[in-house]
């Protein structure tokens, strides 16, 4: 066994241990902490699998936004714990569930072990057509050009998710600011950290979008970092969420899918097909879409983490 394989086995064992802890922990808060640590380590697994783009996305979501979302929800649901525990299914049901899960896992394991060799791959095609977009990062090419339809629809899903979250607001709070207003000492430690970290984070986020053309990175990863920085200033009490009735906010939210859709329709009118880019303008068009998408992703993810409107609109 090579030292590399030993390392991979250790990493996989630690990840599995954290997943098992997130499942088995008695208290919900303990399970949430386990799941956050799991998210951090999964980023390491993606690096070991050679997928740095995915590692960046996982580090930003699993390490940052996801943890904030689950921790604050867990704190608010604390009183719910005992009541839910009373509904724990009996030993027979648990045994049946374990058998079912084991069967599903065994089926998947057989499928993974019997994958065809040599493995089919689209990597050479992606590399051969990179010249059509002028960008060197194959994943950005797949996301923005070769399978742009997926990415467009994903942006609509994000928007629909946000509409769903907002629609949960009580009638009297509609139009107000999402989430509770965070109280914090404006001269305190958290505000100090937010003032120092947020500018660095904004630069890192923009850098990630820019470098995404040729190196690992991209609009989603950059947007997530920007969202995390916005959330940090909110948690430090320096800013508040914008009211959901704000027109400017809504413009930012539809900017990404809107620009994407307009470019796609222009491709239908002037080019070969929906979402086809004319070769001469492919890179500027993709960069324009990415900039608009970054803003949308940052705003949408922040507001998704903040939750439904909970503050009355101040007039």
């Amino acid at each position: 066994m090579s030292i590399q394989t030993a390392l991979e086995l250790v990493l996989a064992a630690v990840v599995l241990g954290l997943a098992a802890w997130a499942v088995a922990a008695r208290e919900t808060s303990a399970a949430v902490v386990g799941f956050i640590a799991y998210g951090l380590l999964i980023a390491l697994v993606w690096v070991a699998l050679g997928a740095v783009d995915v590692a960046l996305a996982e580090a930003a979501i699993g390490g940052g936004l996801g943890g904030v979302l689950l921790l604050s929800a867990g704190a608010r649901l604390r009183e719910n714990e005992k009541r839910a525990a009373a509904e724990r299914p009996g030993a027979g049901a648990r045994l049946a569930a374990a058998a079912l899960s084991a069967m599903v896992a065994a089926g998947l394991a057989v499928a993974v072990l019997r994958l065809p060799t040599p493995a089919p791959t689209l990597a050479p095609q992606a590399a051969a057509n990179a010249a059509a977009t002028g960008m060197g990062n194959p994943i950005t090419n797949v996301l923005m050009a070769f399978r742009a339809m997926d990415t467009l629809l994903e942006k609509f899903v994000l928007l629909l998710g946000l509409v769903g979250v907002w629609s949960l607001a009580a009638d009297r709070l509609w139009g107000g600011n999402p989430g509770p207003r965070h109280q914090a000492d404006p001269l305190g430690l958290l505000a100090f950290l937010a003032r120092l970290l947020a500018p660095i984070g904004v630069v890192v986020g923009i850098y990630m979008v820019w470098t995404g053309a040729d190196h690992p990175g991209g609009a989603f990863q950059g947007g997530t970092v920007l969202a995390a920085m916005w959330l940090l200033t909110m948690m430090a009490g320096l800013t508040d969420t914008p009211p959901v009735s704000s027109l400017r906010l809504r413009l930012v939210l539809v900017a990404g899918p809107g620009v994407f859709l307009v470019v796609g329709l222009a491709g239908l009118l002037f080019g070969a097909a929906f979402l086809s880019y004319p070769a001469a303008y492919a890179k500027p068009l993709i960069v324009a879409i990415e900039v608009a998408m970054t803003l949308t992703v940052a705003a949408t993810l922040t507001l998704l983490s903040a939750g439904a409107p909970e503050q009355r609109l101040e007039r």
Partner: protein
């Protein structure tokens, strides 16, 4: 080559663990975590599939990886929606369990909000 097998099996095991927790754990927030574990395991299997085709020229197939990035976004927005639903149910009913008799037994708790 072996990295793909090791982490692919890891993903398979995570799917199994998550599925078990999704079925048996009564706490709705734990079900949301379990749902995320199942998703994460499926992404790992995708990653293993992408890694299998690694050669000296390419670190793996970019298509499944791009799909995983899309999947991470969609999983996050689904999680946020589920958490928001759960919090709203808790605020409205004073309890957020999935049992049949949960609403009637806890209506008096709602007066605090």
């Amino acid at each position: 080559m072996s990295g793909a097998v090791v982490f692919g099996m890891c993903g398979v095991a995570v799917v199994g663990l998550g599925l078990y927790s999704l079925i048996t754990n009564p706490h709705p927030l734990r079900k949301i975590i379990a749902f995320n574990l199942v998703g994460s395991g499926a992404f790992l299997i995708f990653g293993a599939v992408a890694r299998r085709s690694a050669t000296t020229a390419f670190s793996g197939d970019p298509t499944p990886r791009a799909l995983v990035i899309t999947g991470i976004v969609v999983a996050f927005s689904a999680t946020a929606l589920a958490v928001a639903l759960l919090l709203r149910l808790f605020d409205a009913a004073g309890s957020a369990t999935l049992g049949a008799d949960a609403q009637s037994s806890t209506a008096d708790d709602a007066s605090g909000r």
